[in-house]
Symmetry: C2
Amino acid sequence: PDLESGTAAVQRQRQLTKPAGALGRLEEIAEWLATWQGRHPPQLERPRTAVFAGNHGIAAHGVSAYPQEVTRQMVRNFIDGGGAVNQLCAEVDADLRVYELALEEPTEDFTQVAAMSEEDCARAMAYGMMVVEEGFDVMALGEMGIANTTSAAAICCALFGGEPRDWAGPGSGLDEEGVKRKVDVVAAGLSRHAGKLDDPLEVLRRLGGLEIAAIVGSILACRLARTPVLLDGFACTAAAAVLYRIDPRLLDHCMAAHISAERGHRPLLEAIGKRPLLDLDMRLGEASGATLAISLLKAACACHVGMATFAEAEVSRRT
Amino acid sequence: PDLESGTAAVQRQRQLTKPAGALGRLEEIAEWLATWQGRHPPQLERPRTAVFAGNHGIAAHGVSAYPQEVTRQMVRNFIDGGGAVNQLCAEVDADLRVYELALEEPTEDFTQVAAMSEEDCARAMAYGMMVVEEGFDVMALGEMGIANTTSAAAICCALFGGEPRDWAGPGSGLDEEGVKRKVDVVAAGLSRHAGKLDDPLEVLRRLGGLEIAAIVGSILACRLARTPVLLDGFACTAAAAVLYRIDPRLLDHCMAAHISAERGHRPLLEAIGKRPLLDLDMRLGEASGATLAISLLKAACACHVGMATFAEAEVSRRT
């Protein structure tokens, strides 16, 4: 973190033509961007959105309202420009990248064995790190992966405790019976790996997924690249939670873009101490909430950079 | 309202490549815009932001952290492009208009007499109506007026009951003693006009302000012009509440853009049954929250119009 840039941002806020603090979280955003971009003023000209896609062995248990082939079909839809994330990227001039992680080779069924071998998990993390380039002003991270909210629920339960039913929700639209199946799959996974879940990276390897591991890597690499991160919904935030459990400070360059309607996201955000920027009942994934929040970051920068000071505008200060 | 267009929007949402409802309030926005713009698909190419400025006799009681001259100075700042609202308008390509309502002639002190004569109040409402032009896709309404959160608190207390301290907060940054003075001024106003506050328009005339009356007029005119409205913070929403008290349906073409940090805004939004789109601790007024929310409307339209359908993208539907 560049505390000098953060302090410069705070000092400029005080001089702008508004009562102190009146722009609320837009001021917090400007200070956060300055601190983690390492420059004052902060900029938001080059945002990037990255969507990682992976498939999950547990999909065979019927824990999603959609068949597994939809992961690949939706990746194709993103490439063709037809997804929600494409339209949202266009609105904020974000560069969209979609990364497939071996969709034809889903992870193993974590109710039986570890979802990933050490090598596969490490390789997915490394892949997520490598795709991070220098020169972007923010990275909006998200995912696509049929059944990955089940994986995310298992990760959260392993990292933070509670019951599977606290973390498992309808995802893309499961009925009550489906949610019950999902709860059972999470419980079976936790039971299968009991005693081996003390290390957060082992939680990731045993219960996670390739796209989730890649997001973990990307979050770390963004920090080194001085690129602040916007976290998307439940599955993406579960990836971040792995790092939080290693050291909470590893997420200081990340903001929660939104709170999703998926059941586990609220307790998860509370567990990692992040207040979301948006609360719009979204639950789509694919970095849609994170990309939408880029517009708030752009607005925060625009106000911070463009507003007149009291002196410039000859406006009287408070009495 | 054009229910046919609203229904067309609902039907299209069902075909887009996402689980039903997964875009949350972005879907609600698209349906609302279609209904009140009277067309499908809805558009958000031409947004306008209107800021009405007025001065208040009660400012003499020291109910603001800033001197009255700041109203005029900030209007000058908006014209020169230095305000927060200018930067926010630039981000969403909104056309900004600033309307002064006789800044050299503040309203009367409502602790003594009615703030406005019938003629002045009607003229301000008519002015607010007249400035509404056809052809805008949304109108973000806001205000600038030193001491106007005191007027807003008095209006809310008269319309919805409760105690003055429930509605009067620090505004632009009053200390505790200042808030106490403000509460006393609200109480004195309510007592002075007791027995004459049954008619919402009388509440507006006796306790309101010229910019607040102009906003009332604009909200009505926007409805006739098929222009949906984004309401800004506490003072702007208090203007809307006058119409709500006449008939709640008069606000069906309005959305609450955000919830401000000012004390009275939360109970006010609850009283008029509006859920805010944004919650960012902003409390600046000048249509800043309403203008920021335009970015959400643009995103909602972009998704609604640009996303592929399941059939177009050849994505499997739910199992």
